[in-house]
Each structure stands twice: as structure tokens, then as C-alpha cells.
């Protein structure tokens, strides 16, 4: 029974000691979810504390439902990223949909109107039998939910790798906007205040599977198997509007969405943070099904529900708002001074637990870990010479590089009327204007799992650096990140080693780039049959564009403009996309990340944009310089010609993935000023090519842009609609 609940004998003994008795079934269920990896972060917590989490613009860092940053003029941006990996593998449409719904609730819980969604998706090999149905289900689910709620889906990532065959990743990010003095928190302060349940009714959705299989618990196995959660975006939309309406009244003391572990974790977290007790009358909980037990009610993960602590005397006016939006609403209990969670059901006390120990004494592990074996450095001279344009065409049609139009045309990218750059546009980050102003938020999600796998520490740094670079390139001041740390089983030292070192790399980059972590999520145990996913610490970055009249992105080009490269090129091909896609070799040391250089190059580009000295900027990442130029060509519809290198072999020069680089498009009359600036700042700025008619040219080898575009656009539709 205890094992069925996922508690170790030692954890159970600790629990009994705290209670001074054995817990009853309800209490056991509650404690087991509170102490689960998902809720307690027991394997990851000590390492997450390495992240820098404060800064001049941080209003609220990790610990609340989402992170909050100051974006001037009394405005705040609120954002978080979260995984829904396992549910999306079981039921891709609903799994992805409820992932989107869940992350939106974390954001509007804090008082923000959600204004943008992003999704970082990793699927198995394109040819794997499950991939196509998973892709179509996940994409339809993301669109089905976000489109209906009416929040634009503006960006994300999509990679394919056999390492995700049995365990896809669906990481959803939501960004919202609020007034900086109107942020709502989850601490339930004060005694005797009403607890309001609002939103959907509680059903038997997603109740902990392992527990349900227990024979002692039920003779009625079939009916009680955990039920897949189904998302109801229509209810979510009304919940957003109703909660924002209630927030404007001043009736709220605390508010919290019911996420994982539903009523249990929301009530306990609110009480714990507020230092109070909570009493709930389970007979008052709105139910979707008859005869639900207290255990089921407390562990249900039905979607689209919130818990609110109200100021005394505001019950009636608060209820009216939810009634108007045709949502279920009930006062189900109150805060107390006992410091205990007391649940009653049919006039009986069915649970009486001290709250503080549940969180304070939650197990914490410093799990043993082992450093990843150092990867060999790839010697570029061992690679054969190839026609560069041919290689470029193949690279641009590789699964990770090919156009994702098939995906993003299923997403409403423009609802709310403020999307300035979304997936389709030439911009390294999505750009969403703050309504009615001349400023905007830029946002991006990044991770290069093949780097992290080869060297978790460098890969962790790189994920943060690339995120920061993308924001710089899109004209923003990078402010802070959220993240979603997707790894395998932490009880295996080699996996724990990936986790620890990736976190350390990320933390170092965040510190060096003044780019703190304000929220995040950890998803462990991403394995099937003992095979772990490639380590995937996804970074969600948010930045501020203060003045929209300055140049952003790389969607425009003028023939005759010059292409200049910021940063140094050594021709690093280890763990590059070129090595994997063209030569079929993987697992070499990834490109080093020099954070000081990264910082200086970024600040230089930022000043160049600020002085309007550039027409377009693109960061150089997967596929190197040639792929960056091809992106610019495809976004602007103008051809690009890159010159070869006197020093490096063609593959290293065009496709090397050295970090900290940007490709700038400059008109001839701004060149001198730009060069002066580079000289003053001691920045490497070199001529690499120019904007030409309608060919894409690498040295003397060239092809029609239209042909490249055709191939690039065609790969994903061909996969999905063959």
C-alpha cells in the first residue's frame, strides 16, 4: 500500500513519526503526492538553488506560480514554462491541450492577462511509427486549446531525435501582462476567511495511477482506473475573464490554480505560505460524478479549477462574477489558526494533518551523480570536402531545420492584435506589443540537446546563451528566463550528473549575462525501458523592446546591403548539425561558450541596433553561417552571397557552430560608423558577403533561392501528408 503510493519505507516512517500515528488512506494519498518528485522537487531542489534569481527587474522569482518582471511604466510581465510530456505521449491531443491550459492558469493566477504562448516540442525519429500521429495530435491539441481561448501561439521549437522515440517532450510556455502593483500571490493570510472553489467540477480525472491499482483500495478496478484529463478551453476562457474581473474588485487575499495534485497541493501550498490552517467541507466541492470519495476529490486533477481566499464579506459579490460567466462556484471551507489541514466529509473528519511538516519535512535528496564522460574533439580535417551549396540544401531540409509552416499555420498567431513577429516572420524571437504602447516583449525558447548530451555543462551554458542572443538579435533587452528541465531517471548517477552539470552551466551563464531565473519546472523520469531522453533543459527567455521604431528581426533586405559577421569563427563542427546530418557523426565536444565574449558581442549588437546602424540581425546557431544567411534569404525573399574563407575549409567556415556570433545586414552608408563602433568596443566584425538578386551563393557554388525554399517548405508536409 505504501509502496503503491510511491513512498519509500524511510519516508513512510518519517511521516508516521510526524503524525504520531499511522495515516489513514486519505492522509497517505495526500502526503504521497506532496512528497512526490513532481510536487516536492526532492531530487532537484538543492541544485536549483544555484540559479541566480534576483535582479533589478525581478519582482517575483521562483516559488510562486510564475515569475514576475518589471517592464517599465508600471507594467509587469509574468511567465513560466511547464512540461506535459507523459500525458502527451499517452493522448497527444488532450495531453498537449491540457499542458497549454495548465501553464496559462499559472500565469493568470498571478493577475496577468495571458498574451502569448510558446511550445518547445521534441519528437522521436521522423520515420518512427508513432511520430506522425504524435506530431499531428500534439500540434492539433496545442492549437485546439490556445486558438479557442484566444491567446496567440507565437513561437517555439520542434526537434526530432530517436532519443525521444518512447518519450516525447511537450513544454508549454505562457507569457502574460499585468500591472506591477496588481500582482496576486498564493499566501492564504488571515484566519476565518472563506475559501472559494471556482471553475470546472471535479471528476475522476488523472488520479494517481499507481494508487488506483491497489486491490485493498477498490474491488471495482475498471471503473477506477485513472482517467485521462480532457481540456475544456471554453471553460478556461471564461475562467480567465472571471478571475480578471474578480481581481479588479479587490476581494482577493490569495489565489492559486489547481494544478498537479489538484485540491491537495493548492490548499496545502496556500495555507503553508500564509502560515494558517485550512478546513474544507468536501460535501461542498462541486462534483461531476456521483459517489466520489474524499480520496478521489483530493487527488483529482480535473482541469480549469482555481482556489481563492476571499476578504471577509465579499463572498456574495465574488460568487456573482462566476455565476455571470456560468462557472461553478462554491465556498468550500475557511482558513483556521490550527496550522492543520482538516477535511470533513458526510459529517466525519476524514483527514487531519499538520501542514508545515508536509512541506518543511518533505524529503530532499542529494542524489549521487557522475560526470558525463568527456567527449572527443572532432578534427575538422578528417571530414571530406563537399559542395557547400549541396550540403546547405540538405541541411535546410533536415528535420530540425526544415520549415515548420505545417505546424504554425495551425496556430492562431495574431489574435489579440499585437503580434509583431511570430513563427512565420524573420525574427529570432517572437515579438508581442504591449497593447496600446510603443514597446513590446520578445520571447524565445531554446535548447540544443545534442550539445547537452555531449557535454551537459557546456550545453547548459549554451542554451542560456542562445536564448539571450536571440533576444538581443530581435532588438530586445534580455531580462529573465523560465526553464523546463527535462531529464531521465535521477536515481541513475549518470543522469543525475547530466542534471547537475547542466544546471551549473545554466546558472553560470545566467549570472554572467545578468539573466536571472524567475520560474521553471523540472520533469524527471523521462525514460522508456531504461533508455533516457537526451538531456533537454529548455530555456524560455523574455526581453523588453523599449522602442518599436528601431529595427528588429531579419525580415527585410535590400539588394547591395553588406553582410557582416560579429564574433570569431574557428570552424567548430563537433556536435554540429552538419556533422550529424551530412556526415552522420555525433557525440563530439560541442562548441565552447565564452560568456564574456558572448556578453560583449551582444552588447555591441544591442548598441548597433540602438543607433539604427543595421538593417537586420540574425544570430548564428544550428547550421552555422550558411544556415543563418539562408534564413535571412528566405525571410526577406532576397538572395545572399557569402564569400569563402582563406583559412578554413569550406565546411568549417560555412557550417561551424562557434558561439557568440551574429550576422548583420548593413547598408553601405552606415558601414564606417559601425566599424568605428566595433573598433572602439574591441569587437570582431568581418565582411562575409552581401545581399544579391535571387540566388543563394556560397563562394562559387550557388542555387536559386526559390528552389531552396521549395525543398525547405516541403519536408514536413511530405512527412505528415504522404
Amino acid at each position: 500500500m505504501v509502496a503503491d503510493h510511491g513512498l519509500s519505507p524511510a519516508e513512510y516512517a518519517k511521516l508516521c513519526e510526524q503524525l504520531g500515528r499511522e495515516p489513514n488512506l486519505n492522509e497517505l494519498g495526500i502526503c504521497s503526492v506532496m512528497w512526490s518528485e513532481h510536487c516536492s522537487y526532492k531530487s532537484s531542489r538543492i541544485h536549483l538553488s544555484k540559479f541566480p534569481t534576483t535582479g533589478p527587474r525581478v519582482i517575483c522569482g521562483p516559488g510562486e506560480n510564475a515569475g514576475v518582471i518589471d517592464i517599465d511604466d508600471g507594467d509587469a510581465a509574468i511567465f513560466k514554462m511547464e512540461s506535459h510530456n507523459h500525458p502527451s505521449f499517452i493522448e497527444p491531443y488532450q495531453g498537449a491541450a491540457t499542458g497549454v491550459g495548465g501553464i496559462m492558469r499559472d500565469v493568470f493566477t498571478m493577475g496577468a492577462r495571458p498574451v502569448a504562448l510558446l511550445n518547445a516540442l521534441r519528437f522521436g525519429a521522423p520515420e518512427h511509427e508513432k511520430t506522425r500521429s504524435l506530431v499531428s495530435g500534439v500540434v492539433a491539441g496545442i492549437g485546439g486549446y490556445g486558438n479557442c481561448v484566444g491567446v496567440p501561439t507565437v513561437g517555439g521549437e520542434m526537434n526530432f531525435d530517436p532519443g525521444y522515440n518512447g518519450n516525447i517532450l511537450v513544454n508549454a510556455m505562457c507569457v502574460g501582462i499585468a500591472k506591477a502593483d496588481q500582482i496576486f500571490y498564493s499566501a492564504a493570510k488571515g484566519v476565518g476567511n472563506s475559501i472559494l472553489y471556482v471553475g470546472a467540477r471535479t471528476g475522476r480525472d488523472g488520479i494517481h495511477g499507481a494508487t488506483m491499482a491497489s486491490a485493498e483500495f477498490s474491488d471495482d478496478q475498471e471503473a477506477k482506473r485513472p482517467t485521462v484529463q480532457v481540456g475544456d478551453p471554453f471553460t478556461e476562457k471564461r475562467l480567465i475573464e472571471a478571475c480578471l474581473e474578480l481581481m479588479a474588485t479587490g476581494n482577493i487575499i490569495a489565489i492559486q490554480d489547481m494544478g498537479a495534485a489538484g485540491l491537495t497541493s493548492s490548499s496545502i501550498e496556500m495555507a503553508d505560505k500564509g502560515g494558517v490552517g485550512i478546513e474544507i467541507d468536501l460535501d461542498k466541492v462541486p462534483l461531476r460524478e456521483a459517489n466520489m470519495t474524499p480520496y478521489e476529490m483530493m487527488l483529482s486533477e480535473s482541469q480549469e479549477r482555481m482556489l481563492i481566499v476571499l476578504k471577509p464579506g465579499t463572498e456574495t459579490s465574488s460568487r456573482q462574477i462566476f455565476t455571470k460567466w456560468e462557472l461553478d462556484v462554491a465556498v468550500i471551507g475557511q482558513t483556521t489558526d490550527t496550522g492543520r489541514l482538516v477535511l470533513s466529509h458526510k459529517d466525519e473528519v476524514v483527514c487531519d494533518l499538520p501542514i508545515a511538516p508536509l512541506s518543511d519535512l518533505a524529503p530532499q535528496y542529494d542524489r549521487p551523480w557522475r560526470e558525463t564522460e568527456p567527449a572527443p574533439v572532432l578534427d575538422m580535417s578528417t571530414l571530406p570536402l563537399r559542395d557547400p551549396i549541396d550540403a546547405l540544401a540538405r541541411l535546410m531540409c533536415a528535420p530540425d531545420m526544415a520549415s515548420k509552416r505545417w505546424v504554425w499555420e495551425q496556430y492562431d498567431r495574431h489574435v489579440m492584435g499585437d503580434t509583431l513577429a511570430a513563427s512565420a516572420s524573420g525574427s529570432d524571437a517572437a515579438i508581442v506589443r504591449i497593447h496600446g504602447s510603443n514597446k513590446a516583449l520578445a520571447m524565445t525558447s531554446d535548447c540544443t540537446p545534442r550539445y547537452v548530451k555531449a557535454n551537459p555543462y557546456v550545453g547548459g551554458k549554451q542554451a542560456v546563451a542562445e536564448s539571450w542572443r536571440n533576444l538581443i538579435a530581435s532588438g530586445a533587452e534580455p531580462i529573465a528566463i523560465t526553464n523546463c528541465l527535462n531529464f531521465g531517471n535521477p536515481e541513475r548517477p549518470e543522469i543525475m550528473g547530466q542534471f547537475v552539470r547542466a544546471v551549473e552551466g545554466m546558472a553560470e551563464a545566467c549570472t554572467a549575462l545578468d539573466y536571472p531565473v524567475v520560474s521553471g519546472n523540472v520533469s524527471l523520469y523521462n525514460e522508456t525501458n531504461g533508455a533516457a531522453i537526451p538531456p533537454t533543459p529548455t530555456v524560455g527567455g523574455v526581453g523588453l523592446i523599449r522602442d518599436l521604431s528601431l529595427p528588429t528581426g531579419f525580415g527585410t533586405a535590400v539588394e547591395g546591403d553588406l553582410l557582416y559577421l560579429v564574433g570569431h569563427t574557428s570552424g567548430w563542427l563537433g556536435s554540429s548539425l552538419y556533422a550529424r546530418e551530412i556526415e552522420g557523426i555525433t557525440g563530439h565536444e560541442p562548441p565552447p561558450v565564452d560568456l564574456e565574449l558572448e556578453h560583449n558581442n551582444g552588447k555591441f549588437v544591442q548598441s548597433a541596433i540602438g543607433a539604427s546602424l543595421v538593417r537586420a540581425v540574425h544570430d548564428v546557431s544550428d547550421g552555422g553561417l550558411a544556415a543563418a544567411a539562408a534564413d535571412m534569404a528566405m525571410a526577406s525573399g532576397k538572395g545572399m552571397a557569402l564569400e569563402g574563407s582563406d583559412i578554413l575549409p569550406a565546411h568549417a567556415w560555412y557550417f561551424g557552430e562557434d558561439q557568440g556570433r551574429y550576422l548583420l545586414m548593413v547598408s553601405a552608408n552606415n558601414l564606417t560608423r559601425l566599424q568605428d563602433m566595433a573598433r572602439n568596443d574591441d569587437i570582431s566584425l568581418s565582411y562575409v558577403g552581401e545581399v544579391i538578386g535571387d540566388d543563394i551563393a556560397l563562394g562559387s557554388s550557388r542555387m536559386k533561392l526559390s528552389e531552396l525554399r521549395k525543398q525547405w517548405e516541403q519536408w514536413l508536409p511530405a512527412l505528415m501528408e504522404n
Binding site: F234, K237, D412, V415
Partner: protein, 220 residues
Amino acid sequence: MRAAVIVFPGSNCDRDAASALAQVTGQAPLMVWHQSNELPAVDLVVLPGGFAYGDYLRPGAMAARSVIMREVCKHAEAGGLVAGICNGFQVLSEVGLLPGVLMRNAGLKFVCKPVALQVERIDTPFTSQYSQKSPITIPVAHHDGNFYASQDELTRLEDQGQVVFRYVDNPNGSANNIAGIVNQANNVLGMMPHPERAMGTTGDGGDGVLFFKSLLGGFR
């Protein structure tokens, strides 16, 4: 010009429509809740895009039966202007103010992209500022925009010149490439594309501005 935007639970382009109207008319429209049994005296009623009632059962079906729609129908019968955009078009066809049905897209997927539209009529209150010469570009974003009507109905629509916008490159399988139609009296229009998303403020070409300017033209 006085305008009202109807808000159903699940409408999500209501604010966008209001912003576009305010941009062109200089005056914020009235936002009218679906349960209201009174429509303020206005020249134009906009049924906005979105997913009223989640698009459950059929898009527009439940919204068409809401209290306010009785008033909207009266307004239309009295000659007042009604514009249904996207979900609003679906509501208008469900309530019978416009013929036909918007079925699931032929590709069965949601489609969000800018599309080229031929303006077929410039003698309606919704299109008087356009020219018929070159197509305009307006985004679509819908799952159910595949216009269907019986063959007889289609013939009638064409004969009476009720087709106002036609897709240059059909994104959803609509019969006769129909993107927008008016009723016989020319005062009720439904269209799937979103002119309120082409107001020239988000890097779009601004081709939606003339739609709202046309409306203004009749009431200055």
C-alpha cells in the same frame, strides 16, 4: 458612427474588433453582453471572431440562440448594419440572417495565414472604399470556414451578386471560393477573413482599414 460589439462567452476577437473600430471611428464601440435583451441604438452591430460557446456542437450554434441575437435580428430587419467576422459569420448563418453553412475546412485543420481576396462588390456599405482592381490581403484563422450551400442557393447567391469577397487561392474548400457574402438587402455581411487584424499596426499591409472606413462612409 455608433457601433456595438456583441460579446458571447468564448468570443475572443471582441477587443480586436473594438480596437479597429476605435482606430477608424475615433470612438470606442459599446460592448454588449450576450444576455442583454436590449440593443442600444447603434448604426452597426459587429459579431466578432472567436469560439463562442467553445464552438461546441457546431460553431455559432449556441450563440445564435442567445438572447441578444433576437435584438440583432430586429436591428437587421430594420435595415441596420450587421457585420459578422469569422465566428460572427458562423453565428449569422446559424441564425438564418445569411444563407449557407460554414463547415469544417476541407483540410480538416485549423488554418491561420494571410490570404488574397478578390473584392467582388464595391457597392455595399462594407466595401465602398475598396477597388476591384487588385486583390487585398487579409488573414484568416479558422477551423470551420468551408462555405457550403446547396447548388440552387449558390446559383441564387451568384445571380443576385451576394458574393462580396472571394479567395484567390482557396484555403478551406469553400464553394465558389466564397470568403464573404451579404444578404439580399446588402445590410448584413458575413466574412471568414479578419479585417480587424489588418489595420496596418502589426506589420500587415493595412488592407482591413478600408473595410471599417467603408462602414464609416455611410454615417458621417
